[in-house]
């Protein structure tokens, strides 16, 4: 269970270089993003979700996929 303090602080600050901040600001002008923060959050969510998916897949491979990898390593002579 998160504590009261933790629940209160649902946002935190991440530092990025000012030049990068300005580049993003320029990039999102006239787009659906209303702030640099919302853009950065969107991009990070995409990347993190992708990484988590890949991590999960590499840790829990199906029997069929494992068989395929083993066959390939055999064909390559490593096993």
């Amino acid at each position: 269970m998160p504590g009261r303090e933790e629940r209160k602080h649902r946002y935190t600050t991440v530092s990025i270089p000012v030049t990068l901040y300005n580049r993003i600001k320029e990039l999102i002008k006239d787009t659906g993003f209303t702030s640099v923060s919302s853009f950065v959050t969107y991009v990070l969510r995409e990347v993190v979700a992708d990484m988590e998916r890949e991590k999960m897949e590499s840790e829990t491979i199906s029997e069929e996929e494992k068989k395929r990898i083993l066959e390939r390593l055999k064909a390559l002579g490593y096993l």
Binding site: V47, D50, M51, E54, K55, E57, S58, E59, E65, K66, R68, I69, L70, R72, L73, K74, A75, L76, G77, Y78, L79
Partner: protein, 450 residues
């Protein structure tokens, strides 16, 4: 900022015989000049001298025992089936992770095993263990699209154990060409302080065409086309590096391999030997030659040991309390392993000739033993013979690899040469360097203020 930029060109399985003694079929024209101006080491690979774990030993400075990686596959105690390692099993920081941590910009291409990719301060394209180009194989993730828009889907490997040599040759040249074009793009378009590029195509060329190339091979044969494949692959890399050299003026260039290569004399059916020795019993005779040893084929009540094949053999003891049907008592284990090692060392060749076998326990090899090591590690006749794990062969000595045509075995010695365009590192032969010592040389080049 780094003192100097550093490019590590990893040529998988390149032996000193080729790079230092000039047996390159004319392929390494530019690189030969570079190497003659370099500080040259004979690289002593790790035990086992196999791509996984060797490159990671080089780039972490840790032995296979410390990494807990003894090959591609491992088995949990008590389990018969294997699990396969990937980048997530590497628990020590690599040189590019350390460089990233220090704010240097890095690039990594083709280093096994880097799949799935981990974030770095720069770019990464994973290696031949990547299941396929449909996977996420780059860091950052969108680099994949950037590469594929320009060069099409990545080719990670070829299947070279085939008698269709023309097809193998075409696939090989296509793969190496693609790698070189992608790397040229990345090296010239991305900012970097350290780049590590391992070209697996060199190893594949050696395995598929070594007997058409090396006159010392027992089955050497000159072939109008095939004898030219290895020099052709060398020359592709050579011309690529020469072309790039204009943009690499101040860059320190390291040329390294993870192990060497030597002619394969044949394969030895290690489980059939264990059967003959009364240490392994099968429930029934295998129906066809080259049958993989399966759990349900073994009469466990009468089996004391079984083995895996590959470039070396991992031997497992059917230990009571650890294995589901163990018969070797815990208090007998030490003596049993010692005696088994002695018997394995005594294996002789097909004509009764003596072999130089190495049979040793992981605890006697490494400063630390992590992960899931075998009970014994066996190398046959100084790596001239390949242990085959399959059974059902009419004879335990096989003229060819049990996994299909293969001309080469791995060798203990590879290369490690450092070219400094400013000449501050020194040139000439520098003796032997252990593969686990390379990390400190690279980190000193990258991180020490000169």
């Amino acid at each position: 900022m780094a003192n100097r930029r550093l490019l590590v060109l990893g040529l998988d399985s390149l032996p000193p015989y080729v790079l230092y003694q000039g047996h390159d079929g004319g392929g390494f024209r530019y690189i030969r000049g570079l190497v003659s101006d370099s500080r040259r080491y004979i690289l002593r690979s790790c035990k086992p001298p196999i791509t996984v774990p060797a490159w990671m030993v080089m780039f972490t400075g840790k032995t296979p025992g410390e990494l807990g990686i003894y090959g591609f596959r491992h088995r949990k105690p008590g389990m018969f089936d294997a699990y396969i390692v990937n980048s997530r099993y590497i628990r020590y920081p690599t040189i590019w992770e350390e460089a990233s941590r220090r704010g240097l910009r890095v690039g990594v291409f083709g280093v096994p095993p880097t799949y799935p990719p981990k974030p770095v301060n720069g770019f990464m394209v994973t290696d031949f263990t990547t299941p396929g180009p449909e996977k996420r194989y780059t860091w950052p993730p969108w680099l994949k699209r950037e590469i594929e828009e320009r060069f099409g889907p990545m080719i990670f490997d070829i299947l070279y154990r085939s008698s269709e040599k023309d097809r193998v040759m075409r696939d090989l040249l296509k793969m190496v060409d693609k790698h070189l074009r992608v790397m040229e793009y990345l090296l010239t378009r991305k900012p970097w302080d350290l780049v590590v590029y391992v070209e697996i195509g060199i190893d594949r060329a050696h395995h598929a065409f070594w007997r058409y190339f090396d006159e010392r091979h027992p089955r050497y044969e000159h072939h109008e086309v095939y004898s030219g494949v290895i020099p052709k692959v060398y020359s592709m890399v050579d011309e690529w590096l020469e072309k790039l050299s204009k943009t690499l003026r101040d860059t320190v260039i390291v040329i390294a391999s993870d192990h060497g290569v030597k002619p394969m004399h044949g394969a030895f059916a290690i489980n059939q030997w264990l059967e003959e020795e009364g240490l392994l019993r099968l429930k029934e005779k295998p129906k066809k030659p080259g049958t993989d040893l399966r759990e349900d084929m073994i009469d466990w009540e009468h089996t004391a040991a079984w083995a895996w094949g590959g470039y070396y053999s991992r031997v497992f003891v059917n230990l009571k309390g650890r294995e589901p049907h163990g018969i070797v008592e815990a208090e007998e284990y030490e003596d049993f392993v010692k005696e088994l090692a002695e018997r394995l060392r005594g294996i002789r060749g097909p004509s009764g000739e003596e072999w130089r076998n190495i049979a040793e326990r992981p605890v006697d090899v490494y400063p630390e033993v992590n992960g899931d090591p075998p009970d014994l590690m066996l190398y046959l006749d100084d790596l001239n013979w390949r242990p085959a794990g399959t059974v059902g062969w009419p004879d335990k000595y096989l003229p060819e690899n049990d996994r299909g045509p293969d001309d080469a075995m791995h060798d203990w010695y590879g290369v490690f040469s450092v070219y400094d365009p400013e000449g501050t590192i020194g040139r000439g032969d520098a003796g032997v360097i252990g593969i686990e010592e390379v990390y400190s040389v690279l980190s000193s080049l990258l991180f020490e203020k000169k």
